[in-house]
Symmetry: C2
Subunit: 406 residues, 2 copies
């Protein structure tokens, strides 16, 4: 008899659903569509010449190449973990090499943390809205989402405290240039959130994917990790930070990391061992060489380019959008968050935008766990050229104005 797959597939795995929006957005890959949909870095900014030298150099030394091609430890390369420790120290977070685990991108960090800290029905605090990819990783554990509203300064403290008081002990947050809103928390809100987490013995999963992409000249604000001074004891602290080279070097390396207290890292290492043994040694070394060779100059190059794109998007929004449309003014990252008049459904708008004006974006509802946000949208300014950003926002504004007048 045939295999009855429906009976065999595990209950939690059945929860995985294909994204309808992903299918819709396949259209956005056509060159005639101006796409604000992707959340991907600008490939024109990849340091290709450096990678040519780096991969070539790695394979030029025979003994070194044979080590790079062999199985390796599940924790990740010590030299790369040390580079991350040094970089964190520069940001004011004193941590130990044993607090660092290398992962296949930050996404795998989310996945293994979900497997470690979530269980069916356990409360998980998320910002409203929150990063879609994180929720995909979390949802395989069937948690109970507790949404906390976001203000420009950060999450609403009374709601966060309420969630902690009701027993939630894990919160997923992105204080720097959040995907999807581009918002950053104020320093006061960072301190207050950490203080609350301390009071309740709660864990803050800090997604720092965009932290290095800050455009307003000033130093980035201190991360939750760096504010969590107790974490200087390798076994202590309330903050687990997720980092990645995907936005600063290249996504295809799939090199991210988790910085966490030792009791967490010890378990995550076993999970990596059981899950995929270790991250590609070749790519860990390539990332390490590239970071040593290119930072901070390359980061400045990224900031100059993305800043110009952000400025054009914000200026065109100001110039062209009709009344009743509002948006965030990100100081870094890749995203602007649009709030449309309540009567406009962004999913419907996307279909019209693709059809009528050849513009793509991501409807915002997917970033909420409670089905709200129907009139919101995420606009990415990372990949299109400035002319096309101006053109695309103008076309989108025209479409919205026409709908408004209907």
């Amino acid at each position: 008899m045939s295999v009855q797959w429906n009976e065999l597939i595990a209950r939690d795995a059945s929860a995985l659903r294909a994204s309808e929006i992903r299918d819709l957005l396949k259209v956005a890959e056509r060159p005639d569509v101006i796409s604000f949909a992707g959340g991907v870095p600008d490939p024109d900014l990849f340091p290709v010449d450096a990678f040519r030298d780096i991969y070539g150099g790695m394979m030029a030394c025979d003994a070194q190449a044979r080590r790079s091609l062999q199985y390796s430890v599940s924790e990740g390369l010590p030299a790369l973990r040390q580079w991350i420790v040094d970089d964190l120290a520069d940001q004011g977070a004193m941590r130990d090499i044993d607090n660092i685990l290398i992962t296949n991108g930050a996404q795998q960090g989310l996945d293994i943390l979900a497997r470690l800290l979530l269980e069916e029905g356990r409360n998980l605090i998320v910002e409203k809205p929150s990063y879609l990819g994180a929720m995909q990783a979390f949802s395989t554990r069937l948690p109970n989402y507790v949404g906390v509203d976001a203000e420009d300064e950060g999450p609403v403290l009374s709601q966060l405290e309420d969630a902690f008081a009701k027993g939630a002990r894990v919160a997923y947050v992105a204080p720097d240039f959040q995907n999807p809103t581009g918002r950053s928390w104020s320093i006061a809100r960072r301190k207050a959130v950490l203080e609350l987490a301390r009071r309740y013995g709660a864990v803050l999963l800090e997604d720092a994917a965009y932290s290095k992409l800050s455009y307003n000249g000033a130093e980035s604000l201190p991360s939750l990790l760096s504010l969590d001074a107790e974490g200087a004891d390798p076994a202590m602290g309330n903050v687990i930070q997720l980092g990645t080279f995907s936005k600063t070097l290249a996504p295809a390396l799939r090199i991210g990391w988790v910085c966490a207290p030792r009791p967490v890292i010890d378990k995550l290492v076993l999970m990596m061992q059981a899950g995929n043994l270790h991250v590609s040694t070749v790519n860990q070394e390539a990332a390490l060489h590239a970071a040593r060779k290119l930072f901070p100059g390359h980061l400045e190059k990224l900031r100059v380019s993305y800043r110009a794109k952000r400025d054009v998007m914000l200026q065109t929004l100001t110039d062209m959008m009709p009344d009743g449309v509002s948006w965030t003014r990100p100081e870094g990252g890749m995203f602007v968050w649009l709030t449309l008049p309540a009567h406009i459904d962004a999913r419907q708008l996307l279909e019209e935008a693709l059809e009528d004006v050849k513009v793509a974006f991501v409807p915002g509802q997917a970033f909420f766990t409670d089905g709200s946000g129907a009139n919101t949208a995420r606009l990415s300014f990372s990949t299109e050229k400035v002319d096309r950003i101006k053109d695309g926002i103008t076309r989108l504004a025209d479409l919205i104005r026409r709908k408004d007048n209907q």
Copy 2:
């Protein structure tokens, strides 16, 4: 207050345990120890020159390099999946590109299949003994292991049928040069096992990690996948095969694959998306270029080298081991399986072997789910030179003889 990690760690994650043997075997990395412990390929056989050209070439074309460094699809590169389809067709297994998913090594294939097909308490059939790494992946799902004894020809059919009759629907098997025993199933046993699986609508997870490393000149026996002719319909079939380039090119690429019916692949793709987005594009391309450029010549080079090592190990065992010790005679792969007199505990023997004669191996008990196999051991012949293999087996035989005479 501090985070109470013990209360926060999920119940299934608590099941993860560090391997005591792994710690013990850290000693085996010292150069004065002759190690039969590792299950890793011989780094002297890595095609380093080819990889230098391949990585260099990939980064030399600017447009190509930028694509290789960008995010990619969760299924894996179409060209690599097509290469795998063609290679399977050469082995008599007619499959479709949509039956292939690229994974971070075969280990990740095991992990995501465990997440798809296992649940707490669900019966999972494994051979006795079975690959330790697979069981680490499976154990995170808290299955109920049903062990089936292995003969030289393959698993004992009556036990397998009994397990199916009692409701088990998933079996993990390695018909080619199994890790840890080196055994291969006979063609008759392959057909009989597949026939049983068909009768009960059961799934066979076929680990084909070592399939290409066959040393006896003859063609490899047909895989379960190729015998499963119903699988020519992309949605059908009872066999899911796991493959990898770790043993034939280089482990650090972390490129493996799953070949499965469409309903399975569709779910696994979502799992990859949620779990780590996709496998490193750079490494997928490097593996594809290497396979196109080097196979089958490179495979023949591996076979010649490993065959010589196997021959020396088997001959020295025959020459030196005392009566009462028996072992398998693998026709491929990397392992010989030793059965000691019942009164010898292999774990105890390992401690003495490391201390007294500077020889390492893996005690066999870890490969059994039921705690049996205390008098068994896995010997790998893959990494040591032939002289040291001869020397190491001689020393080990001396130690066993001394224990026997105690």
